[in-house]
């Protein structure tokens, strides 16, 4: 007769228990993120907060900055417009430069190719923040200091290596045969790129576009350093100034302005979080 073999409770439930423990730990370490973002949303719509995080009474009073500008601050819509111009221009410039550059590095064979690719990688890893002093001087002598144009050119330039790398990846996935076919049909290299290849890398353009838009939208250090007059402020400097003035005093105002500022970020986060985990990581530092 077979010997009866009994599993202990622990042996039977081992996998389930392990998973339950793991999920509990995940919840605990993720709690600070969830709570702080929940606070950001709740506090902006409430008159007061109980225990700091439970809303008491619904109000739109905190959002008054949208129709009545805060004393000593530029009107919010001008600041909003500046931010939009900055983000869209960075996006346009970066997409333009990288759909060209990425193609060259993906498809052409030339003497400097390897050097250029190495340069792209080195710049990508390089701390551009250490160049602020020199960049200040360059903007100063070219008359671009205190202008959005200066920040746009600068921001786009420093992100081009990242964009090229992403676009090159998308170009690399297109089979060579597509290109051969176009060339055999009598297109020039530029025509093939424009008419045949470019439509095929639309997802790449979307990725590069969205990320450069968000990065332009969020830019803080360059604006803070190279923009001096309030008329050229963007939302990041606006929020920073408000934090300076209303810190610990009016969290309602602080959270509403912040929430207003991060709307594009949230929209993107909700709709495109699949791309997020795959692409973003190679692009940012910190």
């Amino acid at each position: 007769m077979m010997k009866e073999y009994r599993l202990t409770f622990w042996q039977m439930k081992k996998e389930k228990i392990t998973k339950a423990v793991i999920i509990s730990i995940l919840i605990v370490i993720t709690l600070p993120i969830m709570l702080t973002y929940a606070w950001l949303i709740l506090a902006s719509f409430s008159t007061d907060m109980k225990y700091g995080i439970i809303p008491v009474k619904f109000t739109l009073h905190n959002w008054r900055f949208l129709w009545k500008s805060i004393e000593g601050y530029p009107p919010i819509w001008r600041v909003f417009f500046n931010t939009l111009v900055l983000a869209l221009s960075v996006m346009g410039l970066e997409v333009f430069a990288t759909i060209l550059g990425g193609y060259a590095l993906s498809r052409f064979k030339f003497r400097l190719r390897e050097t250029l690719l190495k340069t792209v990688l080195v710049i990508h890893a390089f701390p551009s923040i250490s160049l602020l002093v020199a960049i200040y001087y360059i903007l100063k002598i070219t008359g671009l200091i205190d202008t959005l144009t200066g920040v746009i050119l600068l921001k786009a330039s420093l992100e081009i290596p990242w964009g090229i790398w992403i676009m090159k990846g998308f170009y690399d996935q297109i089979p060579w045969e597509v290109e051969f076919a176009g060339l055999v049909d009598g297109y020039s290299r530029i025509q093939v790129w424009w008419k045949v290849i470019l439509p095929l890398v639309k997802p790449g353009i979307a990725v590069a576009g969205i990320f450069s838009f968000l990065s332009g939208w969020s830019e803080f250090v360059f604006i803070n350093t190279f923009i001096l007059s309030q008329n050229t402020w963007t939302l990041s400097t606006y929020v920073k100034a408000i934090i300076g003035d209303f810190r610990f005093v009016d969290y309602g105002l602080l959270t509403s302005v912040s929430l207003f500022y991060i709307i594009p970020t949230i929209v993107f986060f909700v709709f495109a979080n699949k791309y997020l985990l795959r692409v973003n990581i190679t692009g940012t530092k910190g």
Binding site: I33, W39, I53, F110, P127, R189, T265
Partner: protein, 291 residues
């Protein structure tokens, strides 16, 4: 071909190559807000050695980089990657997405979240938690433990970098290995220690190298949350550089301080190229028509 490369090359030359050279040249001048080129030789570097702030700054930088890296950018990142790959993909993906949120949030807003969390009154998250859990009175964290705030704030952003890289590395481990460990009755810890960790050691090394450099040169969140204070207790090298140049308007000295970062940047970049399988990434193109 020039047509394709020209826009990128021009922009990157003006705003990247030129500044690198210029930083080097500026570091030998005593340039201030009048923007005059008065060369002073290596005076800035001599000043740097004699600067009484430097020892504080170096100590702060070390504490900041070491603890953020160890606890968050490596520790938490690894924990998140291991945990989220053990549970189902849907739940794991959910947690990973949430951890991406801080990285995506504009820095000023993210800074505000931590300013609230460490609010000195019993309105802030940490003080509420302390009160509810231990019944302790509110504490003024920005005064008592500013470095803790800085490490935590940077860490919650930094952890997602390693998390993503480790996750994709763990997912690419052949399932047979994991099954084998499981059939042998290996516990979760056993599998992690004997199978997973040895197979992602390159990624761990890469994240360590890359994030050390990132942390050394980052000051954005510190600038927003404490601005180096109180009394320089969170003043790190990159922030000191920034303050020297744009608060004290000592551009020459700022450039010299920057050169230290540039030097570290160049050396690390060369090391990456040498060690991290660069050849595979730059395979030659297969067709050639014109060039």
């Amino acid at each position: 071909m020039l047509f394709f490369l020209l826009p990128s090359v021009i922009l990157v030359t003006i705003f990247f190559a030129l500044p690198v050279v210029l930083t080097g040249v500026l570091s030998f001048t005593g340039m201030d807000y009048s923007f005059k080129w008065n060369f002073v030789g290596i005076q800035n570097y001599i000043d740097m050695i004699g600067d009484f702030m430097i020892s504080t700054v170096v100590k702060n930088t070390f504490v900041y980089v070491f603890f953020t890296l160890l606890i968050f950018n490596l520790g938490t990142a690894l924990l998140l990657a291991l945990f989220t790959t053990t549970v189902s993909d849907r739940i794991g993906g959910f947690f990973r997405t949430i951890w991406m949120l801080p990285r995506l949030t504009p820095s000023v807003v993210y800074g505000l979240l931590w300013i609230w969390a460490f609010d000195p009154t019993d309105y802030g998250l940490v003080n509420i938690a302390r009160k509810l859990l231990f019944g302790l009175p509110p504490q003024n964290w920005l005064q008592s433990d500013p470095m803790l705030i800085i490490v935590v704030a940077n860490g919650f952003v930094g952890a997602s970098f390693g998390m993503i890289l480790f996750t994709s590395a763990i997912k690419s481990i052949p399932k047979d290995y994991l099954y084998a460990a499981r059939v042998d009755g290996g516990s979760w810890f056993f599998t992690v220690r004997k199978v997973i960790l040895p197979m992602i050691k390159w990624q761990i090394l890469f994240v360590t190298a890359y994030q050390t450099l990132s942390l050394l040169t980052s000051f954005e969140y510190i600038y927003i949350i404490t601005d180096g204070g109180p009394a320089f207790s969170t003043e790190v090298w990159a922030l000191y550089t920034y303050h020297s140049a744009f608060q004290d308007f000592r551009f020459g000295y700022g450039a010299a301080l920057s050169m230290v970062l540039v030097g570290i940047g160049v050396v690390s970049a060369l090391l990456y190229l040498k060690f991290f399988r660069f050849r595979e990434m730059i395979k030659e193109p297969r067709i050639e028509v014109d060039s």
